[in-house]
C-alpha cells in the first residue's frame, strides 16, 4: 500500500511538472516614452509598463537636435542592477500631424547594458518630415522553458 502511494505521489508530481512543459509567450512589455516633440520635457511623458524592468533600468536622458535637416536623438539608459542586461530598443517616428513614418520598419536594436552602466544610444529620423518621436525599451526574451 505504501509503495503504491509513493508511486502515485511521484506520478502526480511528475504530472504537475510535465504540465508546465510548454513555451509560454515571452514578456515583451518594457519602459519608454509617449510621442514627444524635441522641445517637450521627456520626463513628463515616460511610461512604465513593466515594473520589474523599471526597477533595474531607467531612462536617464533624452536629447534631440537637427542634423542635416534630420531629427537626431540621444537616449541614455542607466542600469540600477548589478548584472548585465540584454535589452532592445526601438524608435518610432511621426510627422507633424502625428502620422507614423515608415510604419513597421523601425528595427529593434539589441544592446548589452552592463551592471550599473549608463549607455547612450543614438537614433536618426528616416526622413526630414519627422516632427515627433517615441521610444521603447524591453528585454530580449530568453529562450527558457518557463513553468
Amino acid at each position: 500500500m505504501k509503495n503504491q502511494l509513493s508511486v502515485m505521489l511521484i506520478l502526480l508530481c511528475f504530472t504537475f511538472v510535465v504540465t508546465g512543459c510548454k513555451n509560454t509567450p515571452p514578456v515583451t512589455s518594457g519602459i519608454g516614452s509617449k510621442r514627444i516633440t524635441p522641445e517637450q520635457e521627456y520626463a513628463k511623458y515616460l511610461q512604465i509598463n513593466n515594473k520589474q524592468l523599471a526597477a533595474q533600468l531607467h531612462i536617464s536622458d533624452i536629447k534631440s537636435r537637427k542634423s542635416n535637416d534630420l531629427l537626431a536623438i540621444n537616449l541614455s539608459l542607466t542600469s540600477s542592477y548589478r548584472k548585465s542586461q540584454q535589452l532592445q530598443y526601438q524608435f518610432q517616428w511621426f510627422d507633424q500631424a502625428g502620422f507614423v513614418i515608415e510604419a513597421g520598419k523601425s528595427p529593434w536594436h539589441p544592446i548589452e547594458l552592463h551592471g550599473m552602466q549608463t549607455l547612450t544610444v543614438a537614433g536618426l529620423a528616416p526622413s526630414t518630415q519627422v516632427a515627433t518621436f517615441s521610444l521603447y525599451v524591453r528585454e530580449v526574451p530568453k529562450k527558457f522553458f518557463k513553468f
Binding site: L70, Q88, E102, G104, P107, P110, L124, F145
Partner: protein
C-alpha cells in the same frame, strides 16, 4: 481499488505526457524584433548594419555639404563577403540604398538593371511597335557621381562551451571624379553562444 487509482494516475500521466510532444505551430512574428535563434548572421545583424551605416552617413558633415543644394547620384558596388558564412550581401546594400533613397538626400542608379533597361530601350527604338516620338532615346541617362562600397569580415572563435563571432562591416563613399574617399565608417557586432542552465 488501489489498482484502479494507480491505473487512473498512470493514464492521466500518459495523457499529460502526450500533450508535451513537439507540435508544429505557425505564427506571424515581428520582423523587426531582435532574433537570437543561432549565432549566424541574421536579420537583426542586417538591420543593425543598415541602420547604423545609413545614420552615420546622413549625419556626416561631409554629406551635409554634398547634399546642401543637390541630391548627389550614387551607385552601390557589391559588398565583399570576407566571412566564412554564406551571406547575401546584396540584401545589406539593398537596405542601405533604400534607406538613403527614402531619406530624400540621394539618388541612385541601379547597375544591376542596366541590361534590362537597355533591352527595353532597344525595344522602344527598334521594334517598330512604339511611337518613335515618345520612345526613350539612348544617351540621355545620367551617370553616378559617387560610389558606395565596402567589406563584411568576421572572426570566429569557439571552444566546447562557448562560441564567439565578431563581424566588422566597413562602408566607404568615393567621389568618382576625383577618386577621393569622402566618407567611411565601420560598425561592429559581437555575438556569443554559451550553454545556459534551464530557468525555472
Amino acid at each position: 481499488m488501489n489498482k484502479f487509482i494507480l491505473a487512473t494516475t498512470i493514464s492521466l500521466a500518459i495523457v499529460t505526457l502526450s500533450g508535451c510532444t513537439n507540435k508544429s505551430v505557425v505564427r506571424y512574428g515581428d520582423a523587426t524584433a531582435v532574433e537570437t535563434n543561432d549565432i549566424n548572421f541574421g536579420s537583426t545583424d542586417l538591420q543593425k548594419i543598415a541602420s547604423q551605416m545609413t545614420d552615420s552617413l546622413l549625419l556626416s558633415p561631409v554629406v551635409g555639404t554634398l547634399t546642401a543644394n543637390t541630391r548627389p547620384i550614387m551607385f552601390v558596388e557589391s559588398i565583399k563577403n570576407k566571412t566564412s558564412e554564406h551571406i547575401d550581401t546584396e540584401s545589406i546594400t539593398d537596405s542601405i540604398s533604400t534607406k538613403l533613397l527614402r531619406s530624400g538626400k540621394f539618388r541612385f542608379v541601379d547597375m544591376g538593371r542596366v541590361s534590362a533597361a537597355r533591352e527595353q530601350m532597344d525595344f522602344q527604338q527598334n521594334s517598330g511597335m512604339v511611337d518613335a516620338s515618345k520612345a526613350v532615346a539612348f544617351g540621355q541617362q545620367v551617370g553616378a557621381q559617387y560610389m558606395l562600397y565596402g567589406n563584411l569580415a568576421s572572426i570566429v572563435k569557439s571552444n566546447k562551451d562557448k562560441s564567439d563571432v565578431y563581424y566588422k562591416f566597413t562602408l566607404r563613399l568615393m567621389d568618382l571624379k576625383s577618386g577621393l574617399v569622402e566618407w567611411a565608417d565601420e560598425t561592429e557586432i559581437r555575438k556569443t553562444k554559451a550553454k545556459e542552465s534551464v530557468g525555472w
